[in-house]
């Protein structure tokens, strides 16, 4: 299948993701430094090339996009100062908007609406805390209804609830 080069997509990534995108001259230092590229089909340099060319069909549905651990090794070593992780994170934002969000990630994101934290909080965790002489419930959104409501308002104002398919249980 012929690949469609979409310069507008590339411009958008450079504008909203990071303007360093077009500085990349494809040396491959990033791939060679990447702990994920070493053992997966994800290749850092290739992903940046896809973005430069605006090959969005090679990017958005591509599972490889999610194999970056954001370790920043590539950015530290890139001779052209490309902000690689920032670009990858932006591409993921676009992938999420296009509906390519893993269920496991939706689950983590929902925790933010329920607990205000990325992980759940149950009785056993409260007990564990108390056994160490800590307050059972941390003084966070877990201990304050208002704080949790404020947080939810902020996330909803960004449309985060609809992005992850979260509906309040009444």
């Amino acid at each position: 299948m012929a690949k469609m080069i979409d310069p507008e997509f590339a411009e958008k990534v450079a504008k909203e993701g990071d303007k360093s995108l077009f500085l990349c001259y494809q040396c491959g230092t990033c791939t060679a430094s990447c702990p994920s590229s070493e053992i997966t089909s994800f290749k850092t340099r290739k992903m940046i090339r896809f973005a430069q060319l605006g090959l969005k069909d090679d990017i958005l549905p591509n599972d490889d996009l999610w194999d970056c651990t954001t370790c920043y090794t590539c950015q530290e070593r890139c001779p052209r100062g490309v902000k690689i992780p920032k670009i990858i994170l932006y591409l993921r934002n676009l992938a999420a908007q296009a509906g390519y969000m893993a269920d496991a990630h939706k689950g983590t994101a929902k925790n933010l609406f329920i607990f205000g934290h990325a992980v759940s909080f149950k009785d056993k965790h409260e007990k564990l805390r108390k056994s160490l002489g800590l307050d059972g419930v941390p003084h966070t959104t877990l201990g304050s209804k208002k704080a949790l409501e404020d947080l939810k308002t902020i996330m909803k104002a960004n449309g985060f609830d609809s992005l992850i398919g979260y509906k309040e249980e009444k």
């Binding site: 970056c68 530290e76 893993a102 933010l112 992980v119 941390p138 902020i154």
Partner: protein, 284 residues
């Protein structure tokens, strides 16, 4: 009052021994602190920033604004929290339009962020604000341990914005570890990521584990007694994903706690998956 403590998610909710050890260490060093009341998840840099940068930025700004109204510096004990809050703070300070956008959203809950909060990491506070003499002065028990230091990724990187020195051959954590009498040993793959970041632990646990195993083999080969990290998320990954005979994992606060002679029962070692007893036996 000097610091508002941002405890994060993994430490208080999964390894609370890290939180209690930190409290004991800060108390021993006479550091003034309070909890950051009403804080939420930072939100986690890899995961939430991957889904929606604007959500990540405004949730981070809410936490930064809470510390701002305390009038304190914000202290984290986790590389993830540090990375997220440091980076969101940086973006908001660099780009006034973004700060304005975020404040439109914060206004809905009656808040505003002016960009004045300083984001700190416990390890860097120990190194720069406390310093060697003050920390060494509290050591009651010299630790005869061989420690494999794991920096994690978001403590020093990106170095351009962090300003904590370079990340290819850093020494800051090794130095703190050696203040306790322990020896920080060299090993292959010292700078390798734990594998869990960027949402990889949730979405591709096999990949995360492969990176952990590489580290596991390297630290075993080097003859380390334990892994020490400044990050509860790396801590979780190593404690959960190494094989049964993996190295015990200690947060930097737990290591300092042992050296300071803090109450071991408050360090939560009995809740670690990988048995910490060999470390405790060795330092007896």
């Amino acid at each position: 009052m000097k610091f508002s403590m941002f405890w994060g998610c993994i430490a208080p909710l999964r390894y609370p021994g890290i939180e209690s050890s930190t409290r004991d260490v800060l108390d021993a060093l006479d550091v003034e602190y309070k909890d950051l009341e009403g804080a939420s998840c930072c939100p986690a840099p890899g995961v939430f920033r991957s889904f929606s940068e604007p959500t990540w930025l405004s949730v981070g700004a809410r936490n930064l604004a809470l510390a701002e109204s305390d009038g304190n510096q914000l202290m984290t004990i986790c590389n993830g929290c540090y990375g997220s809050l440091f980076e969101s703070n940086y973006e908001l300070r660099q780009e006034p339009e973004k700060l304005e956008e975020v404040n439109k959203i914060l206004k809905k809950v009656g808040m505003k962020y002016n960009g004045t909060t300083e984001v700190r990491h416990e390890a860097e506070v120990l190194y720069r604000d406390m310093g060697e003499d003050r920390v060494r002065g509290k050591v009651k028990k010299e630790l005869n341990l061989n420690v494999a230091v794991h920096y994690g990724c978001h403590f020093l990187k990106p170095t351009e914005t962090r300003g904590l020195g370079e990340a290819e051959k850093p020494t800051i954590l090794d130095e703190i570890v050696e203040w306790t009498g322990a020896k920080s040993i060299d090993y292959r793959y010292k700078n390798l990521c734990c594998g869990a970041g960027g949402g990889v632990r949730a979405r591709n646990p096999e990949l995360a584990k492969a990176m952990t195993l590489k580290k596991y083999e390297a630290v075993k080969e080097a003859g380390a007694d334990c892994l020490v990290t400044p990050c509860p998320f790396c801590h979780l990954q190593y404690d959960q994903a190494q094989p049964e005979d993996g190295l015990p994992v200690l947060h930097i606060s737990q290591l300092l706690g042992l050296a300071f002679g803090s109450d071991e029962k408050r360090m939560g070692f009995n809740y670690h998956r990988i048995d910490v007893t060999p470390v405790l036996e060795k330092i007896k």
